[in-house]
């Protein structure tokens, strides 16, 4: 196995394109090193993207934020402004692993590892985050919900990698939140995760909504029917029931040691409701 730590995006693209299927991108390495050690992956080349300045910084851009793909969770949560503007994105990332993992794990890695249960992904999808993908044909913008195509699989082509994410400007009267269900209080993998981002009108009615679910399908997903259930309501009981029904209807989960299909389907509705309530109260400035 070869190790390269290029200083520029173009150098990284060249290495990845030449390496083809034998090349892997490394950001924080918290998933990759486990896969290397277990023999699950045997790449010929590991391309560490952390020496590329652009992947390591958070900058304010067009009223929103650009977050480098290799920014660690702890760095994101220590940013003076981002967690206040996008608390759902920040709290989702903060749920990943221990303090030790937070020091290394990155948004780009959490997404591209393509686990259906990745905690930061529903938060980013709800926020409308856009990934900037660099590759041999230049750069393209890809909504986060379009990156993963199945467990361990992404839509990125040969030589492509995610450089950064754009979190858009937050409209007035907006709030976001992320909750996950696990059978313990820390250090576990989501049985169900839900990210919700809401924008209210001046009378407190939901004007725009994005709802994303994780761990209940092959990929985290944006659920349009959940959004529709909330728009035009003040999150009354009828709207919450409709949200819950839409969330459960969208589920296509697996049975495993963490939960059965029936259990995950039921809990998805409950967690979507609870998350929506938090996002709503944040949008109202409570």
């Amino acid at each position: 196995m070869r190790y390269e730590s290029p200083q520029s995006v173009d150098d990284a693209i060249g290495l990845l394109a030449n390496g083809g299927a034998g090349a892997r991108v490394m950001a924080g390495g918290t998933d990759l090193l486990v896969q290397l050690r277990s023999g699950m992956l045997e790449p010929e080349l590991v391309v560490d993207i952390k020496q590329i300045e652009e992947t390591r910084v958070i900058t304010e851009e067009s009223g929103g934020f650009r977050v480098g793909a290799a920014v660690a969770g702890a760095e994101l949560n220590e940013h003076p402004r981002l967690p206040k503007i996008w608390p759902g994105v920040a709290e989702a990332f903060d749920l990943i692993g221990s303090v030790q993992i937070q020091g290394r794990a990155t948004m780009g890695g959490n997404l591209c590892n393509a686990s259906p249960a990745a905690d930061s992904v529903p938060g980013m999808i709800a926020a409308g985050a856009i990934a900037t993908v660099a590759g041999p044909k230049g750069r393209r913008e890809l909504p986060v919900e379009d990156v993963c195509t199945g467990p361990g699989r992404t839509s990125l082509g040969s030589g492509e990698f995610i450089v950064s994410f754009f979190l858009p400007e937050r409209p007035a009267r907006s709030g976001d939140a992320y909750l996950r269900f696990i059978p313990r209080t820390e250090m576990d993998i989501a049985v169900v995760g839900a990210g919700v981002s809401l924008t209210l009108d001046e009378s407190g009615v939901v004007a725009a909504a994005r709802v994303a679910l994780g761990a209940v399908a092959p990929t985290a997903m944006l659920v349009q029917d959940c959004s529709s259930a909330l728009v035009g309501t003040s999150l009354d009981d009828v709207a919450l029931q409709a949200l819950s029904a839409a969330a459960s209807a969208a589920c296509n989960p697996i049975n495993d040691k963490r939960g059965t299909i029936e259990y995950r389907t039921k809990v998805a509705g409950v967690i979507a409701q609870r998350t929506a309530k938090i996002a709503y109260s944040r949008a109202k400035g409570e």
Binding site: T30, D48, M187
Partner: protein, 160 residues
């Protein structure tokens, strides 16, 4: 494949070593530098026994490659005591009997030190959450938490 020549800092000293690409920071510490205070538990980032700090950040040394160390500042359990004088956390772990088999202890101490550097006056809940990534199968954690809180109080007293 030639081995990588890396120059780094460990516990304040400049250190050079050779390593293979596949070797983790934990492998380098134990097998190349013979700093065996850092323990291997799970080797998958779940147990925290291999905790060290790199550029001031608490990490699992099993989840970092040795080749990533060029120009970094690493702190391990070997750098915790000042010669024969134990760090207050180490003294309090002995006083409170906060260890039994001891395999998790270096990692717990390094993690606790990292907490107290950021937050000299943590609550019990803050201690428990910070140490959630350090598994101990002997103590039931209570004595560990009490030792950390007691050490924090002592260190605040000494600083005042």
């Amino acid at each position: 494949m030639a081995r990588h020549h890396i120059t780094t800092h460990i516990n304040g000293d400049e250190v050079e070593f050779l390593c293979d690409t596949e070797q983790t920071l934990l492998d380098v510490l134990r097998d190349e530098l013979h700093l065996t205070g850092t323990k291997e538990g799970c080797a998958t980032g779940d147990c925290g026994a291999c905790s060290v700090t790199v550029d001031g950040r608490l990490v699992c040394s099993c989840l970092m490659l040795g080749v990533e160390l060029e120009g970094k500042q690493v702190s391990t359990i070997e750098g915790m005591a000042d010669g024969e004088r134990l760090h207050p956390l180490q003294s309090k772990f002995i006083e409170h009997a906060a260890l039994q088999c001891g395999i998790c202890t270096p990692g717990v101490l390094v993690a606790a030190k990292s907490l107290l550097e950021r937050n000299p006056d943590p609550t019990e809940i803050e201690v428990r959450f910070w140490l959630a990534g350090n598994l101990c199968r002997c103590t039931g954690y209570d004595k560990i938490v009490r030792a950390v809180l007691d050490a924090a109080a002592d260190m605040r007293g000494a600083a005042a």
